[in-house]
């Protein structure tokens, strides 16, 4: 029973590593897109293109949108999430390596039930400490799509490295 619980804890950790990684990728993409839009719209040489004389209405909308984005940018969560997500991801990846290393002892019968139980909760408490460290005052909004993709990636990983 305790070996099974350790197995589930390890699998759940892998799903969470993947989930955080997907979240980080998404946040970086959105932040990059915002930066590109703002860079393009603030570039005077692009503003001076002759084509905008013909489509001045479209350019006016683009400029208005970029000013709006610039105004609310400080309140958008994407940029502020990147650093804590990257830090959390690194710590969870290290924890995953630890969990997989110890799986050898768990699966080879080198530990008692009590030792396996303590090891499982050491992993869980380390994960929670990392979460509290990088997201002390809030949570990540749930994302079912990322969650589903994270589970698929984890399943592939475990099928490759822990075949039955």
């Amino acid at each position: 029973m305790y070996q099974e619980r350790y197995w589930k804890e390890m699998y759940q950790l892998k799903v969470h590593v993947n989930y955080v990684e997907l979240y980080l990728e998404r946040s970086e993409l959105i932040d990059r897109c915002i930066n590109i839009i703002l860079a393009v719209t603030s570039n005077s040489s692009i503003c001076g293109w002759a084509i905008w004389q013909q489509y001045s209405f479209i350019w006016a909308i683009v400029i208005a949108a970029s000013q709006l984005i610039n105004a609310v940018r400080g309140f958008l969560p994407y940029k502020s999430r990147i650093k804590p997500l990257a830090g959390l991801l690194h710590e969870l990846e290290e924890l995953m390596i630890f969990a997989e290393t110890r799986w050898f002892d768990v699966s080879e019968g080198n530990l008692t039930d009590e030792e396996i139980h303590k090891l499982q909760f050491k992993i869980r408490s380390t994960k929670i400490k990392s979460l509290n460290k990088f997201f002390p005052s809030g949570t990540l909004p749930g994302d079912n799509k990322k969650s589903s993709k994270a589970e698929d990636i984890a399943k592939t990983y475990f099928n490759n490295f822990y075949p039955i």
């Binding site: 099974e4 969470h16 989930y19 080879e108 019968g109 909004p141 749930g142 994270a150 822990y162």
Partner: protein, 45 residues
Amino acid sequence: MSDNTKPQKPPQKPESGKPLTEERGLPPVRETPPMPPVKPPKQKK
């Protein structure tokens, strides 16, 4: 003789209907793949 047994309260459910997890912000896992065969754990002396 009085009956001292009290009805048990049902487990508390969150208002949103989502499962409780102490790992806030991280999703609960729906399904875990089956564990590969393992050796039995060491017996406590």
